[in-house]
Symmetry: none
Subunit: 278 residues, 2 copies
């Protein structure tokens, strides 16, 4: 079968595909117009359905779907379907931006530009994911726990340390008693023992969880200190023992995980706690 477009590569992103379908629709045979219409009207169904289910919903034969895909220069129905799946996958993060950024980088300075843009993209994605996944009730309860505490003990090591470094600064500025358990002086355990049920602990750790952080958090939980955790999974050792826990799944660029979402949360928390105390 010959196609008037020759063997041009088919679009891989949804928007281009959409335009292509609209443009071609006029020149298509009857059944294929019917398919085109169904595809544009029910993109979600296309993403999840099987060829058979979609065919019957659109009142055509499965083979017609394959012909339609071929007409658009795709390998087959499955290939075309991937574009619809991609659309849903990227719904949360802004697909266009990332694509645009990637295109730009490929031209001028591959090394540094790509690197920087990669980290920027990861940061943006982290923020977007977090803002769509955060449960405000959990956040509010966490704030409540910390607001009722006498002293707030801050637990974090290694990669997460900068987060509590900032919180210690912010709490200090806001005149809220706090104490870091993450310093390199080796008496963390002793300090952790000073915490009472009238205090509260805030622990931050992401996979692979720092053994020390987990140990200190657990120690405090054992002595009835209310624990709020910020971590990346329901199975994190912190999540399982915390009174409240907030999930953050940071995006990464070539193995280096972002800190943007966590940092933003760590900026909001002290302010929220201060507000709650007033």
């Amino acid at each position: 079968m010959k196609n008037e477009q020759g063997d041009v590569l088919p679009p891989r992103d949804f928007e281009s595909l959409r335009s292509l379908i609209i443009e071609r629709r006029a020149a298509l045979p009857k059944r294929l117009v019917q398919v085109a219409r169904y595809f544009l009207d029910h993109p979600d169904e296309i993403a999840f359905g099987t060829a058979a289910s979609i065919a019957s919903a659109a009142a055509v034969q499965p083979s017609t779907l394959v012909r339609f895909a071929h007409q658009l220069n795709y390998d087959g129905f499955s290939d075309l379907q991937k574009v619809f799946q991609g659309r849903l996958r990227e719904r949360t993060s802004n697909y266009d931006d990332r694509l645009k950024a990637l295109k730009n980088t490929k031209q001028d300075k591959p090394e540094e530009t790509q690197l920087l843009n990669g980290f920027m993209a990861a940061a943006q994605k982290s923020l977007q994911d977090f803002s769509s996944s955060i449960d405000i009730e959990t956040f509010a309860r966490s704030v409540g726990i910390l607001a009722n505490a006498d002293t707030i003990y801050l637990v974090a090591k290694r990669r997460s340390y900068p987060l509590i470094a900032h919180m210690a600064y912010a709490f200090g500025k806001l005149r809220i008693k706090n104490c870091i358990i993450g310093s390199p002086n080796g008496i963390d355990a002793e300090i952790a023992e000073l915490a009472t049920p009238r205090d509260a602990a805030l622990a931050i750790s992401f996979s692979p969880y720092s053994a020390d952080s987990v140990a200190h958090a657990q120690m405090m939980v054992r002595t009835q200190v209310p624990l709020v955790a910020i971590t990346d999974s329901a199975f994190s050792p912190l999540a399982v023992c915390a009174r409240e826990w907030i999930e953050i799944a940071e995006a990464d660029y070539s193995g280096f995980r972002s800190l943007s979402a966590s940092m933003t949360l760590c900026m909001a928390l002290p302010v929220a706690v201060a507000e709650a105390r007033r």
Copy 2:
């Protein structure tokens, strides 16, 4: 295979499933815990992937996925997968719900939601502004200076301290000699004096500039140490004396300035330096 839950019907909505997995996690064998974890951490992947692709991503056998599904009383992997697909359908199909949810929250809990959204917005804006204003040449030259240094001295206080705390960690991981001048032990000046022209300094400070940071940076410049600065204005005392300087204007929410753009830059820098050294 007999299951302690008998033949209770498995959950058909994502939230119930999530709870069920968390509840059962403890009683599950090792591999199945691993699967459980992957499922909850990467729900989107589960929705679209094939058993084979998911299995390899989670580092288990496809058969393990089936066993996991059976353990939860599903017919098989495909049956379980449908729940994950359903979640995505819900989430994307009615945009209205999310909007409604946002409105509701504004009534219920104006305090926390507004606060958190405000910080998120500031973070996003910072990233966007920075990504459109950054001069990649400057970044590349800064990386060059740091890559040629023997030891990298990191200068920052107060609000900027978490940034170099992260860099010290990153440089350390990348086996790049570095030294923090920002610790509270009072011998910063003495340490700064050790720097030679073969080293380099990286100073970070935003208005109002920390007197100490500025003093230390200037001291090093006087002894011919190449200085790279990250600051917020061309008139910053750091900008005027640095060999290279990168401008970052963070957005703020009710007076609290974001750290997202700076942090992202501080994640990219060490990696770029390490690449340049290779």
